[in-house]
């Protein structure tokens, strides 16, 4: 029994497994979605082509930390970045974008968090790369250069 635990120790330093994510699943949105101005959003906008979905909120400090990086990505690369404004009041969200800049093509208004919940979101920030309606990469936590290179860059 001791020996088996010994070998455990050797194996553990090599294995790097992924934490539970939504990768490999189809993007699930079952209700009508609206942007921060109240305009309805067609599903096609999310399920066609390469879409980067970023879950953020004005009260989320880590989101503020990753915000500049998101801006730099949209400026330097041809990335369709769409936000999901998670459990946030409309006016707080818009103030945040006014103050810190808006890298999003638009942001989905998700006051109750229900849309995100059904997507498999567990908090903010999270980022999904959706290609033709399928989630190919999912980051739980903030996105920085290192994360980008590991999880998203290969697809661009």
């Amino acid at each position: 029994m001791m020996l088996s635990i010994f070998s455990l120790s050797l194996v553990q330093t090599d294995e790097l497994q992924t934490i539970k994510t939504q990768e490999g699943k189809k993007l699930i949105i079952s209700e009508k979605i609206y942007d921060l101005d109240g305009n309805i959003i067609p599903f096609k906008s999310l399920t066609e082509g390469k879409v980067l979905l970023n879950v953020w909120a004005s009260w989320c400090i880590t989101c503020l930390v990753e915000h500049p990086f998101l801006k730099s990505i949209t400026e330097s690369k041809d990335v369709k970045l769409i936000g999901i404004n998670y459990k946030d009041q409309n006016f707080n969200a818009m103030n945040y974008l006014d103050k810190n800049g808006d890298p999003y093509e638009y942001s989905i208004f998700d006051l109750s968090g229900d849309i995100s919940l059904k997507l498999g979101v567990t908090g903010a920030p999270e980022t999904f790369l959706v290609i033709d309606g399928e989630i190919v990469s999912h980051r739980i936590g903030e996105v920085n250069l290192e994360v980008w290179n590991e999880k998203f860059a290969p697809y661009f």
């Binding site: 635990i5 455990l8 120790s9 294995e15 497994q17």
Partner: protein, 587 residues
């Protein structure tokens, strides 16, 4: 070993202890002086932190708490040399403990140095985790480390015994240290449970959380170990005792490994900084290998007596077997998810029902075993009596099935029965003989039975309700009426708080309690402080949730049965352990 050598050894131990005291004192000073240039102080303290918590911040995180454990280890060596000087086993015990101390120090210096500094002096620290700003969670870690450290001492004594033989004096010292270790570890676990119930706010005292389970492992081994020492006079079960002594210590290292390596959050976090985990695991491997090799090579030496069928000692062996089965269950249930994550990449969870469904019947068996042991006449069994017993049990089982009584209720009735029988026996003995034979044993076992009863009753009868109340509103639940009287806002030194005042009406009595939601000024951490009102029979328990836009608050109101009984029986158990340890040595 010459007297000169052992005197020198003692002086070294003293020097070691003194040095460590100075080290720790220095770190304490940095906390008290708000010296945030030390990374450790920066991460665990702040200017606004009350002084009491600045002191406890020392052991609030990995580096400092490990240093505290090392201090305790050195301190135990000091106590050993001071109070037991001249004993035959001292040199080997010192040597063993010195080895352990050495490896621990290497680990500390190379992977967990609390004295690392910044180049710049920050203005303020990032504050102590609010969850830790609680008196219970201040004492819990030191007591736990003391428990681990004391089991290292018993380990060293067991090792000494393997070399020089187990004589009466060694057994005496062993029993003393084993009793102290057992008491301390049990106390540490109890403190953790009390904290979880009163502070975590979920109305539970045990969650089968991996961190909890992993401390239960040495405790179970330690229980079997202490019991195996009972029959030391005839050297019966000597090899059991040695094996258990070794295992208990090894399990304390395993416990430290599992908790400190980060492997519980995910194998991921372990793999990303494996230095600590790998080190501790290798330490475990080294000590395991060395001590077990020693055990097997000396097993001829340890040729011991074996008990007769249905003797007290035989029951003890059965007792140990059941305890180890429980240990195996906890071990498997806790480590299996970790193993599958490593080998299969799959994250899965083993829930509480695995543990409780397997362990509950085993606990009942244990209770039966030690209760039967109290009535030796029952053990004088022949074929006819045995058959009678089997038939009557079968009859009872059929009746239970027919009446469709739930398994838990059966357990409850059974335990109540055992409790009454044991109490009665004790009372009779008290009256007729004016004293109870081996009082601590009787008390200890009684408290275990009482504890089991309370736990099952708690599980069976407790209820809770999620409800939404506005100030002034009330709701009726389970023959009580709960009313939210008012919601106030207050401020303390390092946090602001929203306090909700409740009154609970049950029959003619009214109880008041407060439930809070605190926001800590640095870091903005939000914690919930539960409101609890206790009676012997049950606790009223309220957790304040979130506020809705219309001014109402979400509340979880629970009525928990038997909580006070759980604490009382645990304290009785502790008392019996303490009394048993002291009494043995004619203090």
């Amino acid at each position: 070993m010459s007297k000169k050598h052992s005197n020198f050894g003692t002086k070294l131990v003293l020097a070691n202890f003194a040095t460590l005291i100075i080290c720790c004192g220095y770190l304490f000073l940095q906390f008290l002086e708000d010296n945030f240039s030390f990374i450790y102080v920066f991460e665990n303290s702040s200017i606004l932190l009350p002084t009491f918590y600045k002191i406890s911040a020392f052991w609030s995180a990995h580096e400092g708490s490990f240093l505290l454990m090392i201090l305790f280890l050195s301190g135990s060596m000091f106590i050993n040399n001071f109070f037991f000087s001249g004993q035959d086993w001292m040199p080997i015990s010192n040597a063993t403990l010195a080895f352990i101390l050495f490896f621990y120090l290497v680990f500390q210096i190379f992977t967990s140095n609390p004295f690392l500094t910044f180049d710049v002096l920050p203005n303020n620290g990032t504050d102590l985790n609010p969850l830790l700003q609680d008196p219970l969670l201040v004492i819990h870690p030191p007591v736990l480390f003391a428990g681990y450290v004391f089991y290292a001492v018993t380990f060293s004594l067991v090792i000494a015994g393997m070399f020089i033989g187990f004589d009466k004096k060694l057994f005496q010292s062993l029993k003393l240290w084993a009793g102290v270790s057992w008491f301390t570890l049990t106390f540490a676990i109890l403190l953790g449970s009390i904290w979880a119930y009163y502070e975590l706010g979920w109305g539970g005292y045990w969650f089968w959380d991996p961190v909890e389970n992993v401390v239960l492992l040495p405790w179970l081994a330690g229980t079997a170990f202490t019991h195996s020492l009972i029959f030391s006079k005839n050297k019966i079960l000597l090899s059991w005792m040695v094996f258990l002594g070794i295992s208990t210590f090894l399990l304390t290292i395993l416990a430290s490994f599992v908790v400190r390596s980060g492997i519980l959050n995910s194998v991921h976090s372990f793999a990303s900084d494996p230095s600590r985990g790998v080190f501790l695991l290798s330490l475990f491997g080294v000590f395991a290998f060395a001590s077990l090799a020693l055990f097997f090579s000396k097993s001829v030496f340890l040729q011991s007596e074996w008990p007769k069928l249905l003797s007290k000692q035989y029951l003890l062996v059965l007792n140990n077997v059941v305890l180890l089965a429980i240990l195996l269950i906890v071990f498997l249930g806790t480590l299996y998810p970790i193993v599958t994550e490593v080998f299969y990449g799959q994250k899965l969870s083993i829930g509480p029902n695995y543990f409780s469904s397997l362990i509950t019947p085993l606990v009942l068996i244990l209770i039966t075993l030690f209760s039967v042991e109290q009535f030796p006449k029952l053990l004088k069994i022949n074929k006819r009596k045995f058959l009678l017993w089997v038939l009557s049990i079968a009859l009872v089982v059929i009746i239970i099935d027919f009446l469709k009584i739930s398994a838990l209720s059966v357990g409850l009735y059974f335990i109540a029965l055992v409790l009454s029988i044991l109490l009665l026996k004790a009372l009779v003995e008290l009256v007729t003989k004016r004293q109870i034979n081996i009082a601590h044993k009787v008390l200890g076992h009684l408290s275990v039975v009482l504890l089991t009863f309370a736990v099952i009753a708690n599980h069976q009868f407790s209820e809770s309700l999620d409800v939404r109340l506005k100030p002034g509103e009330e709701v009726e639940f389970s023959n009580t009426v709960v009313r939210l009287d008012s919601v106030d806002v207050e401020g303390e030194m390092n946090f602001d708080t929203v306090v909700a005042n409740f009154s609970i009406q049950s029959g003619k009595t009214q109880s008041n309690l407060k439930s809070e939601k605190r926001v800590y000024k640095i870091g903005g951490v939000i914690t919930s402080e539960t409101g609890i009102v206790s009676t012997i029979q049950r606790d009223y328990h309220i957790v304040l949730g979130d506020r809705f836009q219309d001014g109402s608050w979400s509340i979880r109101y629970s009525i928990n049965y038997g909580i006070m009984l759980i604490w009382i029986s645990s304290i009785l158990l502790l008392f019996s352990m303490l009394y048993g340890t002291i009494r043995r040595h004619g203090y």
